[in-house]
Amino acid sequence: MSNKSLKQITIMAVLIVWSAICLYPLLWMIGASLKNSQEVMQSYSLFPSETWHWGIFVDVWNKLKFFKYFTNSVNVTFFTLIGVNFIYSLGAFAFAKLDFPGKTAIFYGFLAMMFVPGITILIPLYLTEYYLGILNSHLGLILPMVNGAGPFAMFLFRNYFHSIPHEIYESAKLEGSGLFRIWWRIYFPLSLPAVATITIMNFLGSWNTLVLPMVMLTNKDLFTLPLAVMLLDSGVFRQWNVLMAGSLISIAPVILVFFFMQKYYIQGLSSGAIKS
């Protein structure tokens, strides 16, 4: 065997081992959700040895109201994504193309917020929401999440708009298009790759977010999926199969979206680093 193929085989072996480590918890989750509750901690095999208990998913979805929690998560995530993409695309267009007093100062003042970590302002945010009367509402989750995503989205959109040739803007203006129209009909459609990046980054973030709803929501009917999964664990003894079925329902959308949009996700991660 040549030296080169030996090297390739060694690399392959290491990568396969690491893949197994990455995938094991997910496979364990799938396996445990299909076992009965005694079998989970007693059997060595990852998947059930005899019957596969699919029924548990139906129970979790219907009896444990996961349909409702799922809808809540979709609701919160959807409006967060809409807000982030439209508000900051519009703002970035102004920062990239228009001229107005205080532009640079406002832009950097806005970006500076990025450095303040979430938990530092969590307590005053709770109080602010209390005074605004939006505690225990989905709006109370959406607004801070949109704002939290703001600096990164604004930065990405502005860079993207800068990379579009200025002639396009000039000729649209000569044709007499209004500024809002230029943004909506030309710049927003041209920036769809940036929209995709921002969408996937914030989809994962808002879908999995935990502390914010933990603090802001007490009404169980409004719970998002992470909190709903925690509800499954509130009994005296833990039913692993139920807990894992709920867990799987809660992360399945994230995994699906990731597989279809991973190119944009990777771009987002890399550009996030360049930003900092």
């Binding site: 917020m113 302002i121 969590l122």
Partner: protein
């Protein structure tokens, strides 16, 4: 006239972003600084506020409340242990994996997808799985005894014993933190100009010389970013610890954010918790600056 129109349009376009920023961002931020210097009661906030000077900070920094001080410093210590462990484990491991990904001839994309899974699934769901793995009857103990390593088995579960809980948390955190760093290095390695390697080969450069003079200059700033990201992540850690241990057993995995959360929302000490939040923020910021300086000054 045209200028004026542009100005009005400009302000109108940034208005939604700025309004939101003022409402849940800036006002909240100023509110937060103000509260840190007040005595407030949980029930009637603003009306009960009394100026406290540095009392809230004294409580947990200089033994104003000796229990709080003890808890705060042991939590900070755990954050720092986690940060140091992550830097030592995550960064080299990510670099090695990125180099291997760069050199594999088949399935590079497939591997990269799989390697991102820990980050994508980082949620309540996956933390429960890790609890299951660390359970007294869980996969880790079972595997250890299957290999005859009964001495290593944690009888109360890996998260249930004071000596093993923090290492177990760190292992799980590393697992979740590698993807982000890995992607940085993958992007970095791809941006290295391959022509430079070819001309270095013609000049007869050794592998070490190529590493030092071609690869490392590209990877150094990336490493700086990775270190800062890691420090920030370790100081901000909350979700996985809250789910898996809530800081226990006996405070052995307590970290600052869990303490802030408990102090504010379980004990009702809103202003003290807020002061803690700010202290951690400043400490994190300081560490980030130091590591940035250190990695910049090295040639």
């Amino acid at each position: 006239m045209n200028k004026r129109k542009e100005m009005v349009a400009g302000y109108a376009m940034i208005a939604p972003a700025i309004l939101l920023y003022l409402m849940v961002g800036l006002v909240t931020l100023l509110f937060s600084i103000w509260i840190a210097f007040q005595h407030v009661n949980a029930g009637s906030l603003i009306s009960s506020a009394k100026f406290a000077g540095f009392d809230n900070f004294k409580d947990f920094l200089w033994g104003g409340d000796s229990v709080a001080t003890g808890m705060f410093f042991s939590a900070i210590k755990n954050n720092l242990i986690i940060a140091a462990s992550l830097i030592v484990i995550v960064i080299p491991l990510s670099l090695v994996l990125a180099v291997l990904l760069q050199n594999i001839r088949w399935f590079a994309k497939g591997f990269r997808t799989i390697f991102l899974i820990p980050m994508v699934t980082a949620s309540v769901a996956i933390f429960y799985v890790w609890q299951g793995i660390y359970d007294p009857a869980g996969a880790l103990n079972t595997t250890l005894s299957a290999f005859g390593l009964d001495a290593l088995v944690a009888k109360n579960g890996w998260l249930g014993e004071i000596n093993t809980a923090l290492p177990a948390i760190i292992a799980q955190t590393c697992w979740g933190a590698i993807p982000a760093t890995l992607i940085l290095y993958v992007a970095g390695l791809q941006s290295v100009d391959t022509h430079l390697y070819e001309s270095a080969d013609i000049d007869g450069a050794t592998a070490l010389q190529k590493l030092l003079h071609i690869t490392w200059p590209v990877l150094r700033p990336i490493t700086a970013i990775a270190v800062i990201m890691t420090i920030n992540g370790a100081m901000q850690i909350f979700d996985n610890i809250w789910l898996m241990t809530k800081g226990g057993p006996a405070g052995s995995t307590q970290v600052v954010n869990v303490l802030v959360y408990q102090d504010a929302f379980a004990s009702g000490k809103l202003s003290r918790a807020n002061a803690m939040g700010w202290t951690v923020f400043l400490v994190t910021f300081l560490f980030s600056l130091i590591s940035l300086k250190a990695l910049r000054s090295k040639t």
